[in-house]
Point group: C2
Chain length 206, copies 2
């Protein structure tokens, strides 16, 4: 064990990609989600891997994600703003390489579904594309985009309008066994993991 | 496989705790972090488990977390607002039960360090308490609290001022091997996991 202290000045002077990898590790284990958007059913579909989806609240059912405009997610952000809808698809540990490949900077007219071999799927009444193979599919309605002026990012908040999930993975208490569904986790920028339960605890009381 | 569609109306009519467990599962795998605060060195220490820490940006080094005022985290929030500092401590898979126990609603004058047996540690120049046993310790300076009016929660953003970490777990590219450090992940409200790498991929190009 050789624990070392890094000061903010050390972080500031790291080479840019090294710092990105280091900093992206420090929030801990992250969710692996693919954001599906389009400009209408089957029109200019877009798919982007993201590791910043965060629970905002259960009632109303809200999820947030941190996005940086003018980067590789620009098409995703523009589609969300124009159509008001998007999908969140949990990544399976069986196809993490295809999921990761969506992070490449494809031209706007290239569908990351086509480029990575992930098949899109549409619900009858929802115009953004899902990842057919995803074990947890969420239909999202844009609720609010909150600017984070500190670093020109945005907190994009959506309300869940539908969920597709295997009911066998839902416990009697309502929890979803994501390990049973093979859902992947991300650490840092590029490393994907399976998860293995080590403890489930009762509602804690003093 | 019995995939079922849940509509927002189905979620709205779920029993409250069932809905909380279900909804807290839908963002995917989450980080397990303990937030350390106090009202000065060794004064009214507080420790709270949280699963909403999210990467905001690498330069400046910013992390966010979603908090709901007037709940079990009220002491944590008040301490952060009063002192402007807090710590983020990654939870180890070896002591998840103690970490989970911090979620109990203890009176304000009870230290969750004392109540759960987790030992506090202070840096010479930083007045918020760390969890001594934590494999990744972050000293945080409050940067901004952004209200989320949709459901009266807050996005608390802090800047990392120091990091304590075992340098043996840092790769040549700057990524931290959180699995090697035994860092735990959370799903839902109460289930803790270890992580196992299944793939690390190069920077993706079209």
């Amino acid at each position: 064990m050789s624990e070392k202290r890094f000061l903010s000045a050390d972080i500031a002077t790291m080479e840019q990609r090294y710092r990105a990898a280091f900093m992206n590790s420090l929030s801990g284990v992250k969710s692996a989600n693919l954001i599906g958007t389009s400009q209408g059913r089957h029109v200019n579909e877009n798919l982007a891997i993201i590791s910043s989806v965060v629970h905002i609240g259960a009632n109303p059912p809200l999820l947030g994600m941190i996005m940086r405009p003018h980067t590789v997610v620009r098409d995703t952000l523009e589609n969300i703003q124009q159509t008001g809808v998007y999908t969140i698809n949990h990544v399976s540990s069986e196809w993490t390489e295809a999921a990761h490949q969506t992070s490449a900077s494809y031209p706007s007219n290239v569908s990351e579904f086509d480029a990575t071999g992930l098949t899109s799927w549409y619900a009858d009444d929802f115009d953004a594309p899902f990842v057919q193979a995803s074990p947890v599919k969420l239909a999202m309605q844009l609720a609010e985009i909150i600017p984070i002026k500190l670093n020109n990012t945005q907190l994009v908040i959506g309300e869940i309008s539908s969920v597709w999930i295997d009911t066998n993975a839902i416990t009697a208490e309502g929890q979803v066994n994501l390990d049973q569904l093979g859902v992947a986790a991300i650490t840092g920028l590029d490393t994907y993991h399976t998860i293995n339960p080590v403890g489930r605890y009762a509602y804690a009381k003093p």
